[in-house]
């Protein structure tokens, strides 16, 4: 029985420590005797290291060690890995170059790590790094995906000719080609998905500590998945066996994907703590975050969609080049393939889809998963081309979508996914109502009178999250299974400790997980503690990304079921009844139909005192664990609509209304879900209107390397959003939930750009919609119409 606490907008348990300044982030931790690391980074995008002389730095004031790639190699510390092997269409495995934590002969992007200086203070380490002499032999650089495969492009890795990591395909090619034989309409679109820099507000940090007595390492790190960090650093990089490596990810200040990956600095600080005999701490400056956090997106795509005369979609053909940056980051290869190609059917009953993706190396920071990861790129493409189709066919964009929606479930797409539940019309209708779609023509006329351009854009998106069924991802090349674990320990005095492999870095797990426990056992929320982020406490887990909380929560439910079952057997013995007759009601175990009962805390005490029941039949204690491997992906879906008003004189674009209607299945805490939507939409609007990670194409210098140059959305850049929910429960997990973390960032960019292009009356337009770009676009249409 579920008590009303599940589904209620419970205020967050974790907030007290955050609003009072008592959070414990990695940089807040200091270890006795710690020294500080400073990483010397390449100022060049591509160069051979002719010589590297660190002697002067070694003897500088306060320095306790200077280490280079040669020292790493001498200690047989392996390079960083990519954990998902993608196969090209010819069957060959992807072609990956080595990724040493400290460069040995060659640097491949501005910010690539060359050496680490460890000193008594951060300032002394930085001072000493200036004494390192590096002699570079400069090489030409390539930064954009469209140029990387050219015969004249500089080669980054000998293993990957023409900088091509893989040439992947998905879908039914024959049927797709057939669909394009003689359709009534073909809609073509070229577009770029702009490079983004994640910018969690807490910069990355790491403290490595080696215990000489036990031979064990501890790494405190800004990680979304400490167990994966431990596994990779142990099994692949070779720092220490897993039982001699503890990884702690305390409070983490946002991740958005960028803190999933195993980075050079974490490996080096851990390894170096033994080399110098002191804990080694490193905290990124924001400039380092810009240079060396994994970036997101950066695709160029050409696509075409075939439709019949009535607007029924017949086929969709896509060619994408995805920028991987200079090295393959931890999950980079999966992002433009299985997290992208699989979503290209959108919400539509498309009979034929065929996508080809080339992944390429360039002299830029590695690109990996960033909020949504592949799914925003898919949605941006699908929803822009569908909107363009409506314009070309002169149909209402809502009606064209409605005509093509998947309506029966389960629905097998041509690109792997099996949609299990949804009602796309319900979210579209609700969004049309919230935006007052009928009133739009009048608003447009009214804006025209004021000399302003109004536009409206749709995005009816679908995504796949709750990553992921292990067998499915394993067959597609994933190096790990993506189940989750949970352990529930009831204390003898009746509180509950939950150990979860999920990690909370803003998602509010300490509240939502506790809601499940309190709801089930009828105990106060304050009596539940959620413990996560420490490999010494939690046995194993895959961490949090891709709305994996749906997986972690299901593992918790499974563990709670086991606890309840055992508790009932204990109650049966104590109350001298049959276990089948014990019911759990409002926090009490009762013998059905009698007044005999045990309060939850009485039951707990009985479990541990043990003398109340025969231990040959029931073991003492009350502690259970469960592993949950999801049966399918989950498929959040919905409709976002954006309305913009543009000043044609300046190109300044204002979002006058933004509506988000999402179907996340069952909701545990609507307040937190709404907050996730707000944040996701803000990041999506950021991509659509403000953010762009830009490298100089000649020098390979990052031109957007600080908050002075990279436009983060600020409070007065963003509107207030209207948020609505529809609900079709997810059939593949017992909670019926789908996950809500990525939807906002996935759905919103096409809604914004469809609105901008609607207002201007233009087809090709690249994000971000800065005033300059919008002004130029308006003026290009003026010139065109003047010439006609």
């Amino acid at each position: 029985m579920t008590a009303p606490i599940v589904g209620a907008a419970i205020r967050r348990k974790e907030d007290f420590r955050f609003v009072t300044g008592n959070g414990h982030y990695t940089d807040d931790i200091n270890r006795p005797g710690q020294a500080y690391a400073y990483f010397l980074r390449s100022p060049h995008a591509h160069a051979k290291i002719k010589s590297l002389n660190v002697e002067a730095a070694r003897s500088a004031k306060g320095v306790v060690g200077v280490l280079t790639g040669k020292d790493l190699a001498a200690d047989k510390i392996g390079g960083l890995i990519c954990g998902w092997t993608i196969h090209s269409k010819d069957g060959s495995p992807m072609k990956a170059g080595a990724h040493p934590a400290l460069a040995v002969d060659t640097v491949r992007y501005v910010g690539d790590h060359i050496a680490v200086v460890i000193a008594d203070s951060p300032a002394l380490a930085r001072d000493a790094a200036e004494k390192i002499e590096v002699d570079y032999d400069l090489l030409p650089a390539v930064t954009t995906p469209d140029k990387a495969q050219g015969s004249d492009a500089p080669q980054l890795h000998a293993e990957a000719p023409r900088n091509t990591v893989y040439q992947w395909e998905l879908g039914n090619k024959k049927e797709t080609d057939a669909a394009f034989k003689s359709p009534a309409h073909v809609v073509k679109l070229k577009l770029t998905n702009n490079r983004l820099i994640p910018n969690a507000m807490e910069p990355r940090a790491a403290i490595g500590e080696y215990d000489q007595g036990t031979g064990a390492y501890t790494l405190y790190v800004t990680s979304q998945n400490p167990h994966v960090a431990r596994l990779v650093m142990s099994a692949f990089i070779g720092i220490a066996p897993e039982h001699k490596l503890r990884v702690v990810a305390p409070d983490v200040g946002g991740g958005f994907g960028s803190k999933i990956f195993i980075y050079a600095e974490e490996v080096v600080c851990t390894w170096a703590s033994k080399k110098v005999g002191r804990p080694v701490k490193w905290t990124a400056e924001r400039s380092e975050s810009f240079l060396s956090d994994a970036h997101g997106r950066d695709h160029v795509t050409e696509a075409e969609m075939a439709l019949d005369a009535q607007g029924k979609m017949l086929g969709f053909r896509i060619k994408t080049i995805a920028n991987m940056g200079a090295y393959l980051s931890t999950f980079a290869s999966s992002v433009p393939t299985y997290l992208y190609g699989t979503l290209l059917s959108g919400q539509y009953a498309l009979p034929a889809v065929y996508v080809e993706v080339d992944a390429v190396y360039t002299n830029t920071a590695p690109v990996d998963a960033y909020r949504g990861a592949g799914r925003p790129e898919a949605t941006y493409l699908v929803e822009r081309i569908v909107e363009e189709a409506a314009r070309q066919l002169k149909m209402d964009p809502a009606e064209l979508r409605r005509k093509n929606f998947v309506r029966t479930f389960p629905h097998q797409t041509p690109v792997i996914m099996n949609y299990d539940a949804g009602d796309y019309e319900a979210s579209l209708d609700e969004a049309l109502k919230l935006i007052d779609y009928k009133g739009f023509p009048a608003r447009k006329v009214e804006a025209q009178k004021r000399g302003k351009l109004r536009g409206l854009g749709f995005s009816t998106y679908i995504e796949a999250c709750g990553l992921a069924p292990s067998a499915a991802v394993g067959s597609l090349g994933a190096g790990v299974g993506l189940w989750e674990s949970a352990e529930v320990r009831v204390t003898p005095t009746g509180q509950v400790e939950v150990f979860t492999g999920a990690h909370s870095h803003g998602q509010g797990h300490e509240t939502t997980f506790a809601q499940l426990v309190a709801g089930r056992f009828g105990i106060p929320l304050e009596n539940v503690e959620i413990i996560h982020g420490d490999t010494n406490s939690v046995q194993f887990g895959m961490g949090t990304y891709g709305s994996r909380t749906a997986v972690g929560m299901t593992a918790l439910v499974k563990a709670l079921e086991k606890v309840e079952a055992k508790a009932k057997r204990i109650a049966a013995h104590v109350l001298e009844a049959s276990a089948a007759d014990i019911v759990l009601e409002n926090g009490e175990f009762k013998v059905a139909g009698t007044d005999r009962k045990l309060a939850f805390h009485e039951l707990a005490l009985n479990a541990y005192t043990g003398h109340k029941f025969p231990t040959h039949e029931i073991e003492p204690g009350l502690k259970e664990s469960a592993f949950w491997d999801p049966l399918n992906f989950t498929f959040p879906a919905g409709c976002h609509i954006c309305e913009v008003e543009i000043d044609p004189e300046t190109g300044v674009t204002k979002i006058v209304a933004f509506v988000a209607v999402d179907d996340f299945g069952k909701v545990i805490n609507p307040m937190i879900v709404e907050g996730q939507v707000h944040g996701g939409v803000a990041q999506g609007i950021g991509q659509a209107m403000l953010e762009h990670g830009v490298y100089d194409p000649e020098s390979g210098q990052l031109l957007t390397g600080s908050y002075m140059d990279y436009t983060m959305p600020r409070a007065d850049d963003l509107p207030s959003y209207k948020v609505g929910l529809t609900e079709t429960p997810c059939p593949s997990n017992p909670l019926g939930m789908k996950g809500c973390g990525e939807a906002g960032a996935i759905a919103s960019p096409p809604a914004v750009i469809n609105a901008v292009t609607d207002a201007i009356g233009i087809k090709e337009f690249e994000m971000p919609a800065t005033p300059e770009r919008v002004w130029r676009a308006i003026n290009s249409t003026k010139h065109k119409s003047a010439a006609e």
Partner: protein, 158 residues
């Protein structure tokens, strides 16, 4: 190294710092008041906002030595006798935080904003938050929290 003395959260403190030490590092490293955060290196993000002599200041733009003799309040000094300040309570009530990293700076900025501008509306709050970045919330609930706190504090004054 030069000495520096100031009053932080009502307590007299002093220490020795390198001349180049920023106020935020003095607070975090010397005094171990780690509620004040560092989110950037260009004075853009506002995670480090504290009050110096009653005014909101980005503590990464000020040397510790410049705060010699000053009255400094950090996020740790805002709650009184275990009671949350109305702005702290409003952030919790209106879900104005997610990861919590920008929160101390946001709250210190908001307290100063409400002191300076008693009649806040949504547009003004958004403009006044120009110096504070949040990546999690999309700002909507931060704006809501500040507005609610300003109304409550106005009511308390009336």
């Amino acid at each position: 190294m030069p000495g520096v003395s100031m009053t932080v959260n009502g307590k007299a403190v002093s220490g020795e710092v390198e001349a180049r030490t920023l106020l935020v590092h003095f607070l975090r490293e010397n005094l171990r008041l780690t509620g004040t955060h560092v989110g950037c290196d260009t004075s853009q993000c506002g995670a480090c906002v504290v009050h110096v002599n009653g005014k909101a200041v980005k503590s990464c733009t000020m040397l510790a030595l410049q705060a010699d003799g000053a009255q400094v309040t950090t996020i740790e000094g805002l709650a009184k006798n275990g009671e949350l300040h109305p702005v702290q309570a409003a952030f919790k009530e209106h879900h104005g935080l997610q990861c919590g990293f920008c929160t101390p700076g946001m709250i210190m900025t908001a307290v100063d904003m409400i002191r300076r501008l008693p009649d806040l509306d949504e547009t003004t709050i958004r403009q006044q938050l120009e110096g504070n970045l949040c990546r999690c919330t999309g700002y909507q609930n931060i704006v809501k929290a500040i507005h609610a706190a300003s109304l409550e504090m106005k009511g308390a004054r009336a």
